[in-house]
Symmetry: C2
Amino acid sequence: MNEERSSKVLALSGGVGGAKLASGLHAALPPGRLGVLVNTGDDFAHLGLSICPDLDTVMYTLAGVVNPETGWGRAGESWAFMEALAAIGGETWFRLGDKDMAVHVERTRRLRAGASLSAVTADLCRRFGIAAAVLPMSDDPVSTVVDSDEGSLAFQDYFVRRRCEPRVRGFRFQGVEAARPNPDALAWLADPDLAAIVIGPSNPFVSIAPILAVPGLRDALMRRRVPLVAVSPIVGGQAIKGPAAKMMDELGIRPSAAWVAEQYGDLLDGLVIDELDRGLADSIRGPRVLVAQTVMRDAADRTRLAGEVLAFARGLERRPGR
Amino acid sequence: MNEERSSKVLALSGGVGGAKLASGLHAALPPGRLGVLVNTGDDFAHLGLSICPDLDTVMYTLAGVVNPETGWGRAGESWAFMEALAAIGGETWFRLGDKDMAVHVERTRRLRAGASLSAVTADLCRRFGIAAAVLPMSDDPVSTVVDSDEGSLAFQDYFVRRRCEPRVRGFRFQGVEAARPNPDALAWLADPDLAAIVIGPSNPFVSIAPILAVPGLRDALMRRRVPLVAVSPIVGGQAIKGPAAKMMDELGIRPSAAWVAEQYGDLLDGLVIDELDRGLADSIRGPRVLVAQTVMRDAADRTRLAGEVLAFARGLERRPGR
């Protein structure tokens, strides 16, 4: 086996954007060489079920069963459960498809029986035929809270029920101080076969920050011996998907790929920005910059971008001096 | 309002057979004049959900949304959840349809939030537009256990997973000693407007016996001032549906409508037997006997039988001497 084929890559991901890049990496790497370290700050209990939106989006995307139009949920989904729930007065603001329910019900059952989230996730991924390790950031509960002009909101309340309408003032990750990092994630970070770390084009505030806030994970990332590159989720001053740019506006930050470089700071060896932002390349201080087509419209886009990101990372040295 | 129209009827029911008669009574009586006292010994926790098969069968039947082919579950049901659950290795021996899941999830959520089973049931029935009171026999858990030649089996294990194959030796109703009767059921039994009590053509061993085993319910039935009639679930030595006749065989009882009279004994003022069993009428000691077409193939059959049962009960006196 040549060296390149035997090297491993760890991707950090929230939901849709990170999951798309992860699926490109999944396609670009040999089986078993991709780990995806996933935000669980969005997880919540709803209708008595343990729901892990980012884990599910990553899992469904890697399995090729994701709804290609939304980027989350399942392809060919049906809604008989939700319609019947509405008819008896149940809560329907968070839409749960019939197929999707199988994962929530089975995961909840296993968690209640004492299994860890990482063990349940690994087994679900095996059942879905996924040849990557999908790693929840922690087996302990962490809950992202959005401080807004309408008070503190649980993340899904803000994101789904309120459709990101309240103006954000900040974010907190409840329980994160006590959360232990997923030991498998630490093992991936310490693995001598690890060749690169990639932060996907996920929301820096609510997808990547919770992962970095887990005690031990940021330190392990800082101690890495391999290059770390991020793909900017901000393209032309806009977020490709989701509320990242709106959040920046409300926090008094001008949305730009340059801000992404500042936000990740010392963590970054390289930053991938979109062709649209080519003009910013020279102004970005710190990381090396790759300009690429970062908007992933189909599987070919994802695999191509993944290839470019991997080649870029391979050409980088771990930045010295820290 | 004339006296007949103002009189109330309380029906005792298990699943399919009792539910069919209850729906006939529902159609035959003015709104609000029917109470259905339902067995909850079949209830069980499955996949983390509180499942109440007999309550649901009664509710779906009264609401007119039951699957007309099976007599349980919902009409026009879909199975996307169950298929997706099978694909990830979940337990599928107890089939839960997509629409049906709405009731299980919502009931489980409300019970966990502290609501009583009777309150949740009443609200679900209101949502389904049911003009009858569906009364769980108790808000406390009771679990029917089938003692068999293969050991003790939880009821659904015996009934669904093992398809009634093990030979029965007896039945126990775990928790029944401590179960308090549903206060609404006691109120129905004490209601001066109550005109009749009807035991539906349900399994005497596992549908009606658990109700009668709840402390206080049998006594209240014995103290009644109104006629009590039962419709035999045994027709021509066979059970219309379910394992009643097989259970009798295995317990050394010759299945017959005459045995039903013996089983209910002093409780009965009247027994309705099928035309097929007309020859047994004279041999039945104790209750008055009505011979009728008891097999309910459609809504017209149910309403007709309900009308005959009500007329029969009205013509009976409460049997004296007890």
